[in-house]
């Protein structure tokens, strides 16, 4: 880790996934809930036909459903798997209910317990205490949750076991070639997931000069010395939104919902949008220039400047 401090880590998304997401690892993604979900990275994982992954994230919207449908996952550690706008995620259901395309193990969390699990790992402790989930059935099936007696007060509390992902994939608005990344808007569990991970892949809308990043160190929620690879992928989070870059492509979630009700339909969808596509650039071509342009920010809202001078 230490050796990488200020070396350039810029590479293609293909190379980043190939090097840092081997079969069998645990991958945290979609940490900011419905925005900045690294769909391009997920699609590259599918194209490279990774196997036996453990997917970690609070909700992921439809990204986990796609990876599950492609047969890349053996386990999901999440609070919610579905289509936020439309409801059910059909591949997830088929995998859990019928083992199609393969059996899927699930560790059910809540948004809070998964945030705490990542926070524990980011803090370097084996667990964190909490009151949430008291009275629920979660403790009975998730071995990452347990009851214990708290020191000082002696009360019964929940303990959430730390989760250290093998790799965390973080979407950022901008980063420099050393991996120092600016992220703004809702942060979700992104900073903790990055610090909790053994490797971090940053997918940025744009690579900028180091001086842009250094001009606002409070915005640098991912310090580059924790990053293994950084890839520049414009529209890399589509159809989820990236504040200041593009809006959510709601139509895409509707279409996915309609197009994945049966296994056969999903296979067609997967070929059309993922496996039959070379990379994100080709994906955007297929989406069409008009549609892509229609998603771009219409009304800019610039932050007031802050003076870091002395």
């Amino acid at each position: 880790m230490a050796k990488k401090s200020q070396t350039e880590k810029l590479c293609s998304l293909e190379e980043a996934i190939s090097r840092f997401v081997p079969d069998g690892v645990s991958v945290a993604m979609g940490l900011q809930l419905e925005s900045m979900i690294p769909f391009a990275a997920g699609h590259e994982i599918i194209r490279q036909d990774k196997r036996d992954l453990t997917l970690i994230g609070p909700i992921s919207d439809i990204l986990f459903d796609q990876i599950i449908g492609a047969g890349c996952a053996k386990k999901v550690v999440a609070a919610w798997v579905g289509n936020v706008m439309m409801g059910s995620a059909y591949n997830f259901r088929r995998a859990i209910e019928d083992g199609i395309p393969r059996c899927l193990e699930i560790a059910d969390h809540t948004n809070f317990t998964i945030a705490l699990a990542l926070h524990a790992a980011a803090l370097g402790v084996p667990f964190l205490p909490t009151y949430t989930a008291g009275g629920s059935s979660l403790f009975s099936r998730n071995h990452g949750l347990a009851e214990f007696e708290a020191p000082f007060t002696g009360e019964k509390m929940g303990a959430v076991r730390a989760i250290s992902p093998d790799v965390t994939i973080v979407q950022a608005q901008r980063a420099d070639a050393f991996g120092n990344a600016h992220v703004w808007g809702n942060l979700g569990a992104s900073p903790d997931a990055a610090r909790a991970a053994k490797h971090v892949i940053v997918v940025a809308e744009e690579i900028v000069e180091p001086k842009v990043i250094a001009s606002d160190p409070n915005r640098t929620v991912i310090p580059g010395f924790l990053v293994s690879a950084i890839a520049e992928v414009p529209f890399g989070a589509h159809p989820s939104p990236v504040q200041g870059f593009y809006n959510r492509d709601n139509e895409c979630y509707r279409e996915y919902h309609k197009a994945t009700k049966t296994r056969q339909e999903f296979e067609t969808w997967l070929h059309d949008w993922v496996t039959g596509v070379k990379d994100r650039k080709e994906f955007l071509q297929r989406l069409g220039e008009d549609r892509v342009n229609s998603l771009k920010v219409r009304k800019h809202a610039w932050s007031a400047r802050a003076d870091f001078g002395n």
């Binding site: 809930l33 925005s35 609070p58 999440a78 809540t110 949430t132 629920s136 059935s137 979700g188 809006n247």
Partner: protein, 248 residues
């Protein structure tokens, strides 16, 4: 009727928000309820979203998810999920909203897995933040599609805790369900934590509600018809969701 069932539910949910409340808003109908409350009787309410967003003003446009651009622009604060959940755990959140697939006699919610009519397990998306809101907010309100199989005597998996022994002491004593707003009625809870019929929506009857509930539902002697949305409430709802994406 000159309003939809969803509009009635939104207006009913909005009235659960008191001025000054810190509200865990959620999405879909509760989000619109928050907009209605802010624009009518609760201008000082603060909205908390689990993605890390705090808002003192509703987003200018209709949201499909809490992380849509308009919910970030002009937010009070953008934090982490942990920091928003911490407000819940501190007891600073006065009200939370959540949906569910099943609600039982004591207000326990299941949104993890159910059985279909053939007995086959159907997997649902899971808790998300619902369990956290149910466990830790001072009051919570659940929304439900009122069908008999969705209101069993006892849910077989508690995703989000209602009333039970866990409310007798400790941190969870402070909370619990305040109301369940269904497509037919509003249920509230006795001091013993059992649901009773508080009001039935216009167009339905006490008998219809009881017949479509999976246990012998207690009926309050003061049970009355649910108050329909006011003109002002409808104006806010239709202004915010003009195409009726969530409220038609």
């Amino acid at each position: 009727m000159d309003y939809t069932l969803s509009e009635l539910m939104v207006a009913t949910a909005a009235r659960e928000i008191h001025d000054g409340d810190v509200v865990f808003v959620g999405m879909r109908l509760p989000l619109i309820a928050y907009v209605v409350a802010k624009n009518t009787h609760a201008p000082q309410a603060v909205g908390v979203f689990e993605n890390g967003v705090l808002r003192s003003t509703p987003a200018r446009e209709l949201l499909f998810t809490m992380s849509d651009g308009p919910n970030i622009t002009g937010a009070l604060s953008c934090l982490s999920m942990l920091e928003c959940m911490a407000l819940l755990q501190q007891g600073r959140v006065s009200l939370g909203f959540l949906g569910a697939a099943e609600v039982d006699r004591h207000g326990n919610l299941n949104s993890t897995e159910v059985q279909d009519s053939s007995g086959k397990m159907v997997r649902l998306p899971g808790s998300g933040g619902a369990c956290d809101i149910a466990a830790l907010s001072k009051r919570f309100v659940a929304l439900l599609d009122h069908q008999k199989f969705r209101l069993p005597e006892k849910v077989h998996y508690i995703t989000s805790p209602g009333y039970g022994p866990w409310r007798d002491s400790g941190r969870l004593k402070e909370g619990g369900p305040a109301a369940v707003i269904t497509t037919k009625a509003v249920l509230r809870f006795s001091p013993q934590g059992e649901a009773y019929l508080h009001s039935y929506h216009p167009g339905t009857t006490v008998e219809d509600v009881v017949a479509n509930t999976g246990w012998p539902l207690e009926v309050s002697p003061e049970a009355r018809e649910t108050k329909p949305p006011t003109k002002q409430e409808l104006r806010v709802i239709r202004n915010y969701d003009p195409k009726g994406f969530w409220t038609k």
